[in-house]
Symmetry: C2
Subunit: 238 residues, 2 copies
């Protein structure tokens, strides 16, 4: 299997770094081929703008998605975007390793999504979205760390339910939208100052990585469950 790890932490000695290293070692030991994009080490450009294209379709009225479609057709993305698109297309499994910042991705990773998950390459403009998205057939998974303890992220926790309220825009809106199946996330809660907890999380993470093939994906609705106005048909409402 081809594995692509997208990793966003500034400090190689961090717990996020340790989780990333664990993933590389565990997956390579299983015989998989692993590529890593270490976004901070690459100094990956986060801001989506005019400089992402070697030519513009309309320099008088800049619209990012229009330019993404143009660049998808004419192969005029800058080389940093093309390189990431190639890794995505090569991958069977995409793993994201990052600390949850403000209940979302760090900006460097959000910028990677904004720039690489391009309209015309990954979705839309003749491709599709959700179960007809351009990355259909691939699996994805988040591996994240939090500052707060697990109870704060439970259904009645002060931060909101991490599955329903916090990770939904990433799981459903980015990963599933682009066509990928989404495995349940690996979440290491509140690990900042507890070596024993970190050690246990590393053991648990290895187990999760060993069972990628057998872990059921998050059961999002296929397009056939929605009517022509994109509303979930009554028979599928929970």
């Amino acid at each position: 299997m081809n594995v692509f790890i997208v990793y966003a932490h500034q400090e190689p000695k961090s717990f996020n770094g340790a989780l990333k290293d664990t993933a590389v070692e565990t997956l390579e030991a299983l015989g998989h081929t692993v590529k890593v994009s270490d976004l901070y080490a690459m100094n990956f450009k986060a801001i989506a703008d005019q400089h992402d294209f070697t030519e513009l379709e309309n320099a008088d009225y800049f619209k990012y998605q229009t330019e993404q479609i143009h660049a998808s057709k004419h192969d005029t993305f800058t080389s940093d975007i093309t390189a990431e698109l190639e890794k995505l297309k090569w991958a069977d499994f995409v793993l994201f390793q990052f600390p949850l910042w403000w209940f979302s991705m760090p900006a460097i990773l959000k910028g990677w999504v904004d720039r690489v998950f391009a309209m015309g390459s990954i979705y839309g403009a003749g491709i599709g979205a959700y179960d007809t998205g351009g990355l259909k057939g691939k699996k994805s998974m988040l591996s994240i760390t939090t500052g707060g303890p697990e109870l704060m992220y439970s259904p009645h926790g002060k931060n909101g339910d991490i599955h329903e309220n916090i990770l939904f825009p990433i799981h459903h809106g980015i990963l599933y939208f682009s066509g990928m199946d989404v495995l349940p996330p690996f979440i290491a809660y509140s690990v900042a100052r507890d070596p024993a907890k970190r050690e246990q999380y590393i053991i648990d993470f290895k187990k999760r990585l060993l069972s990628i093939d057998t872990t059921p994906v998050i059961p999002y609705h296929p397009s056939s469950h929605y009517d022509e106005t994109m509303q979930l048909k009554p028979e599928f409402r929970g």
Copy 2:
């Protein structure tokens, strides 16, 4: 009233640009003082890293939040962060104008949050969070545009409920977390190719801006509704 508009679109002639201009004109006509951070025009740095501080507390193990606390104490943020922190502290009302990208903020705006909403200045390390956050007493509001139509963002829509599933991490996790009250968002759906719709949205937006003082804020739970494990007390569960 002091109004701070944080604006994230590359194209001045865009509909986001028109909404931002409408906000400036409408609020100034009411006698308010308005400051705008036009993030793309400022080429605002999105990536949170070592270069955000004029000195580091621990260069051998870089942890962003630790350095934010240090910089908050010693006034050692870079000047771009300090300038935004000053505008935030000056403001009574903070308005965010941006296109919804991947069901969240464009990376340039997420980077603004990552870097400016600093631990030790806005929350934590002796300050607090939620209704004891550092921006307590201020109001905030999102004004966003979407690609998809409104029905796709309704409770049974294919994209998920925009209030419960999509904007919660921003509303509750960024704005309310930092202490601000949150007004219901202004959302212009699917405006890309419809001048009449755009005109109506501008009229509606003006009305919203004229009623900031009388519009009820989103009723999030105060800290007193949670028990010592940060779980919502049973009597407040819906």
